[in-house]
Symmetry: C2
Subunit: 329 residues, 2 copies
């Protein structure tokens, strides 16, 4: 359980030879950009490295994949590796290794993360909550010098992580420091046009039509407009054949609405209704609501399950919790 | 017709005493942010200054207005001023002075702009096409020292201009340089959360519902999906009571769609159909289409009028022009 700095992390990358890279389930842009960048960098440094992904890479990110990724399902032989790197993963069991016996992984490991609730579970831990993205920390490690050059492609993968974890410089984690690091990555040759085009200007038309129908027929508000939510009927998901693992577009639509403070996506679940919540304001913690629902997450982004027989009942419970948070001040 | 640099422009601000500030009609975020920043700065430097606006400030920007703005309609007495500053205005007659006898304005003037087609029409001209926003050039002038401090409020107004002219760092004018300048403005105390919240997370619900209805019922595509457009029926504008001067949200919705290259907003006009066009790719010039329609603008953003009796006829003409541009390569 050693806490280390980026220079020491660079030393570990230089020291070991056969790397396994893991990141969290349902990987987002930072998890994938960071993992792809680490994989590319280690291979370029002449090491052996493999990236273990828990599931197929979401279509949106496939174009950025370096190819040398292996799926969880294909099994693992620990004898092939001498070191494991966890990226952007606050809790070890959220890593792609979740169904493996992770408590007994026979490899020394390095945990690189920016989540404030990271459990420091590895032999070496580089956890920097002040970083906007895991990719920012990895950039610091690479700059410290770990055996390879930061190529334009690696710079682009790191910038991808930063762009997605800052909402393209719209979220509150946008700082002068992250802007300067983004400037450096551009100077290292990151293909900005390509990243932006793939991330923001390539939404399937069915996804946009799906969102439009949700806005027209399933957008609800309460608490004087400060709470807004979509209930997403299963038949709508089927109609547009959309992947509900990627709900960021839906969240963004609700977040854009004037006066909203807490926004929620609700979906039917066998035990009730699943809620995915975001706060627009640090004063209103959706994390506290999630904890009451036995869910988890952070103060600004959290999720849980409302046990209720009907939608109306679930909505009533959601409104009650939201009122509690919104009226606490 | 002197071309000058930011230091020389700073000298002019120090030299004169009674300023009139003008910007272009239908002012956008850069025009307004730049103008408000210049007004605040000159007043802080102990000068007299007035901002002439051609029309009411759009609601979205009202919260940023310093108050000391005067409406065009209230008339002007040139004797009150000894200097005029044009901001973000490539052609003098596009300034808020359009109906005044601008050829005979009895004041020395400074033209600060980043449009490559700027006509260099003033006595002094500071035109930098490499700047992402007029606000960026003004920041350079203020940094050169023109008699006042850059307060957090002034930094925020300059950052507002930069954010709106770069699409919050999504457009191709996003450079390492503009990111570093944005970082500096943050360090000078710009209230980033407030700017982002007002610009992107405060859209009236009616506007979002209006966009959803357009997507569901009025989105059309041609050229294999590379051309996409909304025809906006007048009754829909009435139904949602939206202001069609601010069509950026509509443009963004079309721009987001996968595979689109040219996106267009069409509206009924007494002589036919008005088109507002954007290109996602410098290779496909909507400026060239606009010129064929006797319209104007730039290669990436332009507008014109299609003279046609029916919507179907106008759409046919639009498709023909778009095909010409898209198939030229």
């Amino acid at each position: 359980m050693n806490k280390i700095n980026p220079e020491e992390a660079a030393g570990l990358l230089r020291k070991y030879d056969n790397f396994l890279i893991a990141t969290h389930e349902n990987p987002d842009g930072d998890a994938l950009g960071s993992s792809f960048a680490m994989l590319e960098y280690l291979l370029l440094a002449g090491k052996k490295a493999e990236l273990l992904l828990p599931e197929a890479i979401p279509e949106k990110y496939r174009d950025f994949s370096p190819g040398a990724c292996r799926n969880y399902a294909s099994g693992l032989d620990w004898a092939n590796y001498d070191f494991i790197i966890y990226l952007d993963t606050p809790i070890q069991k959220r890593a792609a290794l979740s169904e493996l016996d992770f408590a007994n992984i026979p490899l020394p490991g390095l945990n690189i993360d920016h989540h404030p609730d990271n459990m420091n579970y590895a032999k070496w831990n580089l956890v920097m909550p002040e970083a906007a993205a895991a990719a920012e920390i990895i950039f610091m490690i690479f700059k410290a010098g770990a055996g390879a050059k930061i190529t334009p492609n690696i710079a682009g993968l790191l910038l991808l992580g930063i762009i997605m974890d800052t909402g393209c410089f719209r979220f509150d984690n946008t700082s002068p420091k992250i802007m300067r690091r983004a400037a450096e990555l551009l100077e290292l040759g990151a293909d900005y046009h390509h990243i932006i085009s793939e991330m923001f200007f390539s939404v399937p038309l069915t996804q946009i039509e799906f969102q439009a129908e949700l806005v027209s027929h399933h957008l609800k508000r309460a608490c004087g407009g400060r709470l807004a939510w979509f209930y997403v009927p299963p038949e709508l998901i089927k109609k547009y054949n959309v992947n509900m693992r990627n709900t960021e577009g839906l969240i963004e639509t609700l977040r854009a609405v004037q006066d909203t403070e807490i926004v929620v996506i609700m979906q039917k679940h066998e035990l009730g209704f699943k809620v995915s919540m975001r706060s627009k304001n640090p004063e209103f913690s959706v994390g506290s609501i999630a904890r009451k629902l036995n869910g988890g997450g952070h103060e600004m982004a959290a999720g849980g399950l409302i046990r209720a027989a009907t939608l109306a009942e679930a909505e009533g419970i959601l409104i009650e919790h939201a009122e509690g948070v919104l009226n606490a001040l």
